[in-house]
């Protein structure tokens, strides 16, 4: 999959991360919908600081979970696409094409 995205992902500042007993939820003020996160998506959300390249996320996930680069890239791409589509993440300056690198 190749998704056109721009630059580095950054969290929307008004979105709250709430950890409940067995799950994590993102809640945006003014929106009815909340967004459930699995542990990897939660970590990716935390790394969306406007400074961290998705490729760096992929490399670190490979190291922790001993998965292939392709698997990690697919997970990171999917999570970022979902977060972006939900309006929870925006992209800073610069252009990047996930899924077509390396």
């Amino acid at each position: 999959m190749s998704t056109r995205i721009r630059g580095l992902p950054q969290r929307q500042t008004d979105v709250l991360l709430v950890d409940e007993a067995d799950r994590s939820v993102l809640m945006a003020p003014g929106h009815d919908a909340s967004h459930l996160l699995n542990p990897t998506a939660r970590a990716i959300w935390e790394l969306c600081d406007g400074l961290t390249d998705p490729d760096e996320m992929v490399g670190a996930i490979c190291q922790v979970f001993s998965v292939t680069m392709e698997t990690a890239r697919a997970d990171v791409t999917y999570a970022l696409e979902q977060l972006t589509a939900a309006g929870l993440v925006h992209w800073t300056d610069g252009e990047k094409r996930l899924g077509n690198e390396r």
């Binding site: 542990p39 939660r42 970590a43 935390e46 490399g59 670190a60 922790v64």
Partner: protein
């Protein structure tokens, strides 16, 4: 499938209580227990477990413990159960090759599920610690990349001097080894410090060691020598 578990904890009460409680989990069986790292390695090799769970109190040189456990055939997965949540300890564990990490306040159900996940080939990290862990790994990778670029900026002679610094040689011995004067060695060292953007020889050595570049530096120097 029943997951075979070796449980390593210095406290006999804990070992027995956990083993007893896990009887209720019909798919997890404690096949042996160990009270110290050496016993953990021996039991891993003797009982062919799927997972070896080691509590933090047993941890010393974690990488050698993992290495010893992994020498078993087939190599079991390694779970560390540490005390308080500690990002530094988690990073150390992951770098040592641990497959799973739980904090000491984890319930028995969490431990059992982690053991199952490890047996399935998955890795286990507490969700609230995963983000900080990935951030530290990314930061470490950035530092290593930067340090590697700095190494490339050194001249071949400066790399030789740096390699001897890493080996702990003083100016006189470096001078003997390289057949140059101690004054020239000191000049090289000053240039190295400036290029690596560090303030002391100790910092230069630490930079090379902490960014995992010792072997790369050695290869660079050997490449020049050959």
């Amino acid at each position: 499938m029943t997951v075979r578990l070796v449980l390593a904890d210095p406290r006999r009460l804990v070992r027995e209580a956990v083993a007893e409680a896990l009887v209720l989990e019909h798919d997890v069986q404690v096949v042996a227990s160990a009270s110290d790292p050496r016993a953990a390695v021996l039991q891993a090799q003797r009982t062919r477990p799927d997972v070896v769970a080691v509590v933090g109190a047993l941890l010393g040189p974690l990488s050698s413990l993992c290495e010893g456990i992994r020498r078993a055939d087939p190599p079991p997965r390694v779970l560390v159960i540490d005390g308080e949540p500690d990002d530094e300890a988690l990073l150390h564990a992951i770098e040592a090759g641990v497959d799973g990490y739980l904090t000491g306040d984890s319930g028995l159900d969490v431990v059992a599920e982690a053991v199952r996940a490890l047996a399935r080939g998955e890795s286990v990290v507490p969700p609230f610690m995963l983000g900080p862990l990935l951030r530290r790994l990314i930061q470490g990778h950035r530092e290593a990349t930067q340090a590697a670029e700095q190494l490339v900026a050194l001249t071949p002679r400066e790399r030789e001097v740096l390699a001897l610094l890493v080996d702990g040689l003083d100016d006189e011995r470096m001078a003997d080894r390289l057949v140059i004067s101690p004054e020239t060695v000191r000049t090289h060292v000053q240039r190295i410090l400036r290029k690596l953007d560090v303030h002391s020889r100790l910092e230069a050595v630490a930079l090379v060691a902490q960014t995992g570049l010792v072997s790369r530096l050695e290869r660079m120097v050997e490449g020049r020598a050959s």
